[in-house]
């Protein structure tokens, strides 16, 4: 067969070069297919694992809250207050460790990170933030929650 082909007109697909190419093409296509399936599986696993890590970090905070709750039941005020401080510190540290940052509210209103709830006549510079109703937070480049603020309008004239 091989000798005949070298002399005669090689039909498409039985030329050794074509056959080799076809073989490589099939293998690359099969690898691609396997990769796609594995990628889909891994994506779900990564999401589950990412969540698991965070959820696991919350368990000691739940433990501390349950201890504070027991102290509430037993009217141990000092223990309750200590518990609140501890839980707050732990949760704030967890958020910080995971890249959550508080949005600054000093100075001028910034529509990218602030949400103006209302404006009030004020001696402060017009358009500056004069009160924070709810703190805002970023995660990396993203605003997870804008800071909800009150901004200064011009002072009311007495005349």
């Amino acid at each position: 067969m091989t000798l005949e082909n070298e002399e005669g007109q090689a039909p498409q697909g039985s030329d050794p070069a074509v056959a080799e190419m076809e073989d490589r093409l099939l293998r690359v296509a099969a690898d691609f297919d396997n990769f796609k399936k594995r990628a889909a599986r891994e994506r779900n696993e990564y999401i589950a694992l990412a969540n698991e890590r965070l959820l696991k970090e919350l368990l000691p905070i739940l433990d501390d809250l349950e201890r504070a709750l027991d102290a509430v039941g037993q009217h141990e005020e000092a223990t309750v207050e200590e518990g609140v401080r501890l839980v707050h510190r732990s949760l704030a540290a967890l958020l910080e460790r995971n890249g959550v940052r508080e949005i600054a509210t000093e100075g001028k209103f910034d529509p990218h990170v602030h949400e103006a709830l209302l404006s009030q006549p004020s001696e402060a510079e017009e358009g500056s933030v004069i009160d924070v109703v709810q703190k805002g937070y970023t995660l990396g480049d993203r605003v997870v929650r804008p800071a909800r603020v009150v901004i200064a309008s011009a002072p009311e004239s007495d005349g």
Copy 2:
């Protein structure tokens, strides 16, 4: 050039069938490569998004904790206690919503989900759980944290 090749000895790679195969192979390889790059990028985005959703859910809990902390500073005991109950309820609900379940500790010791810290002579059935030092939790099929327990050994004989 093309006409000459059709008559003469076609060098490998300029045979139209081989050239077409090579072309397809290159395209599949390029698609594969692009897919791999996109998959890696998407994986990181999915992890970031999964985390972002959870971190965002924690912000109202942090708000409530800060209100409780203010009440601590102002010695408003009733508000502090109410705050602890509220924060505990919210965090427990968040964990529940995200698939975290408390591990049952009634009855027999189960090495798959329990960790025995010590055994104590007890009237209870030997090998049963008699105390829980730290609650355990599962997430789906996985043990996020085993329940740390005390198990019953045979009662000490008086003789």
